[in-house]
């Protein structure tokens, strides 16, 4: 073994590295906790944890500079450190079984968290009593949906994520007979009727409700209970020239319609939708309070789950701490609205959800064995003296 390789090995299997990584992790977590007041829980996850480095821009410029190792880097190195140390020092010994089990559980936990952070998709399903939904909606991401509603049975949808809108430019798509030109885009904006704002700049919009509405850009909000409402002016251009410029924003209620190329089109900027191969109907939502107070005691939704292939049709009761798991998705009772007639379910797809459970059992057992051995030894030693 060359000295360099040995140096490498010694570095990666050292306990010193473990201690340093754990220490840096604590600082990272503490920093991120403080930053949450300003950035909100989502912003913090992106900036501190789901990244290799924490980036800060140099004041006065937009140049990002790495200032601290991020969650992926620390987690990854810890994982490496753990695995390397175990391979290097591994001995099948009864005395070490506990600690090895614990660390194996820890490895599983780290891997599980990596999988979760990369693969987890969260969305909401907002159900009115008696209403049926085929899709759930993201609560942070928007999409520009262009629908061909000509067919009476179904809609042909082209969904453009907000991130693409933010880039601006022109989009051409095989399903659309026109180009989409993004005239301007605001990540968060308020809309007002134009006659309420006398001095507003002229609107670029020429069609739909846009010409009557004034758009005021707002700062992005990071609060957990608030959503940003983006706005954009979208121009459609056919081979023969412009079709008009529309204003889109989730703050507008109904989709705007137009006819082109012998088909009926609708456009709307809405929360990103995830369609599912099954439908959920809210049969009943109930909300109990403690007597004489507004403190919620329990929420529950009685729903009917009907799959499109006609094989499944059943009633399910979803309530706090008792979600429904179906087709790789989990439905949680998240919230309610409108005098208890609207139930909001959180819909989560997380392929790695079972890993923490396994690792929890492994770590718990491992620690119990390890400290059990310690305690046993200690007691025996004491009673001997």
């Amino acid at each position: 073994m060359t000295p360099l390789v040995r140096q490498f090995r010694d570095f990666f299997v050292s306990l010193k590295l473990t201690v340093w990584l754990l220490g840096l992790s604590i600082i990272l977590i503490f920093w991120a906790t403080l930053a949450q007041v300003k950035l909100g829980i989502w912003g913090v996850q992106e900036k501190f944890f789901h990244t290799l480095f924490v980036l800060e821009t140099i004041p006065g410029t937009a140049i990002p500079v790495p200032v601290f190792p991020g969650g992926y880097l620390l987690g990854g190195l810890l994982l490496l450190n753990l695995v390397a140390a175990h391979i290097y020092r591994f001995k099948l010994e009864w005395k070490k079984a506990g600690i090895q089990l614990t660390h194996l559980g820890l490895i599983l936990l780290l891997v599980g968290e990596l999988i979760t952070s990369l693969m987890q998709v969260e969305s909401n399903m907002r159900l009115e009593e008696g209403g049926t939904m085929h899709y759930s909606e993201s609560y942070r991401n928007n999409e520009l949906a262009i629908l061909d509603t000509t067919s009476p049975e179904f809609d042909e949808v082209v969904a453009i994520p907000e991130a693409v809108l933010a880039d601006g430019g022109t989009i051409q798509h095989p399903k659309l007979p026109f180009q989409i030109r993004i005239r301007d885009y605001y990540p968060n904006a308020a809309l007002q009727m134009r006659d309420q704002v006398p001095g507003a700049a002229p609107s670029p919009a020429t069609a739909g409700i846009g010409p009557r509405v004034a758009v005021t850009p707002l700062r992005l909000t990071y609060k957990q209970d608030e959503r940003n409402a983006p706005a954009a002016h979208i121009e459609f251009v056919g081979p023969e020239g412009t079709l008009g410029t529309w204003l889109v924003s989730p703050l507008l209620s109904a989709p705007q319609k137009f006819d082109y190329a012998g088909r009926t089109w609708e456009l709307t900027l809405r929360f990103k939708r995830y369609y599912h191969p099954f439908a959920i109907t809210l049969l009943d939502f109930s909300h109990d309070k403690y007597p004489g107070t507004d403190i919620p005691k329990n929420f529950s939704s009685r729903i009917r789950l009907k799959t499109d292939d006609g094989r499944g049709d059943r009633e399910v009761l979803i309530y706090m701490n008792n979600p429904l798991r179906h087709a790789g998705l989990t439905f949680y009772q998240a919230s309610f609205e409108k005098g208890d007639t609207v139930s909001i379910l959180q819909v989560v797809r997380n392929p790695g959800w079972v890993l923490p459970y396994v690792s929890c059992v492994m770590m718990g057992l491992g620690l119990l064995v390890q400290f059990g051995i310690h305690l046993f030894g200690f007691v025996r030693k004491r009673s001997a003296t």
Binding site: T18, G23, T33, K289, K297, Y332, Q346
Partner: protein
Amino acid sequence: MKRWIPLIVLVLAAGWLASTLRPQQNTGEFDLVAFGRLPVLVNGRIKPLDTVARTSLLMMQGRQRVSDPTVAQPFVATPAEWLADVLFNPAKADDYPTFRLSATDSPELLTLMGLTEKETKITYESAVLRTLALADFVPGTRTRFSFNQLAPKLAELDRQAQLASPVDPQLRTPFQKAVMQLRERIMLYQRLKHSVQMPDSAGFLGEIVQFQKNLATGIAAVRARQKGEAHDEAAFKAMLAAAQRYDTMDQLGYLLTIPPAATDTDPTHWQSVGHTLLETFETGDINPNVMAYAALGSSWRERKADQFNEIVRLFGAQFTKRFAPQLAKSDIETRFNAAEPFYKSMQLYAVAFLLAIFSWLKWPEVLGRSAFYLTLLAFIATTAGIATRMWLEDRPPVTNLYSSALFVGWGSVGLCLILEKIYRNAIGSVAAGIIGFVALLIAHHLSLSGDTLEMMRAVLDTNLWLATHVVVVTIGYAATFLAGFLALIYIFRGVLTRSLDRETADGLSRMVYGIVCFATLCSLTGTVLGGIWADQSWGRFWGWDPKENGALMIVLWNAIILHARWGGLVKQRGLMCLAVIGNIITSWSWFGTNMLGVGLHSYGFMDAAFWWLLFFVLTQVAVIALAQLPLEKWRSFRA
């Protein structure tokens, strides 16, 4: 002789504790004890009026006594007597100084409420007291004021509160916070006053008797008017006025005092007096319970003790049959309030701490053993207190920040008792005394925000997770704190005294290591269990919520201590310093995360507590700095 001293201490202290369990005695001719046991439904649970009185006083003025520094005697003997005045004789209660307003909290609020030095400054008659006031031994300024003193400026307060209320609670200035707080306190007081009668009524009993008499003609008049027929205008107006008054009572009344009708099987269907009176329009008869409270009021105002006691007795008797299980709880709760097990334990911990400290200087056997007994007694008393709370709530021990403080103290002391039993060197007793005392002190301050037996919000309403995740994590806190405090003892004894010999030092080191192992086990298991709970109820195992982060930081820190020791990176002193840092991290994740005001877990926002937290952290840093003295400068290790 010396052999007997610890036993004598034990017996005396046990007797003192037992004496708190005897039934409460009335100080005057009114049976206020029985009055305090009357059940009402408020904030979602049936509780005795005694609890209502105590928690209301704590919320309004931070203490249960109603007194003024310049008046020798308290205005009322018990919280229940104060409540009787508020409910039945508000004109008198309006003069009691029960609203806390202090220049240290917000001087602007004093100005807003028109309180000048004339009201706040205390001038004592006696020269002795005046001197003491200068030295701050007795209060030099008044911090509690009566409703009448505040009344002229209530409109101003309302206006300021309206301006402050749209502001995010975390972003409010100290003045805005103080305004909102005072307004809440006054609202609570006003709502109490409207609970069983209209406070402006000259005689409420007379008023409702008159109302009952006029009811038939009144209803006829209203019906006629609705049909557009000729009607008795005066009778109509009287009905209208009465209905408006009772509606106000219903809107404002704080207590649901009227039990459900005998035919109603749901024991939670209690009603306010106002609502019950409005129902009179339908039934035509005033509910006898409303009458009972009104009669209670008139006998209280007219100082007819016999009549008062008789009504309380009869009124209470009707509950014993219908609400036996609820009443059993409410009776125990009254006794529990009066026994004050946590306050008594606090005193015992303080004494035990002092005895144990002195045992290192003199009579180690006698004092050490006495301290151990006292700690044990205090531990038993806290255990009993926590068990009572669990029984009252039907819940695992930790349900809110207050009970977490109780439980952290309990857990640490329990571990200390084990250590003391093994090592018998008074270290366990010293640590138990200080942690027990401080934890209960913190709990006392947390109790000022209201009833500590609150209802659990839906998401927390699961005894399974409360009993596993919350309990295990809290024990993890307790163990991490204990390791830190043991390290403090090591450093203080080592640097400042000659008493840290090699054997003691090694013993302490083993204790800290063992406790850190235990803390790692608990905090890791607890945190992962919390993740599973989160996965069950919110759909994500880990959300980087501040409270979760805090728990994770404790796990990581304990892991660092263990790995640093296994890797030989730290020796004895380093281990102690790391354990002290554990104190900082635990206090942060216990309280600091609640001060951020974000996240799902924040169950309490406390402002003043922030400075205490900072103070605590600074002291810990100072101790670590102290430990950095070269070992040969440590008094114990000097050659």
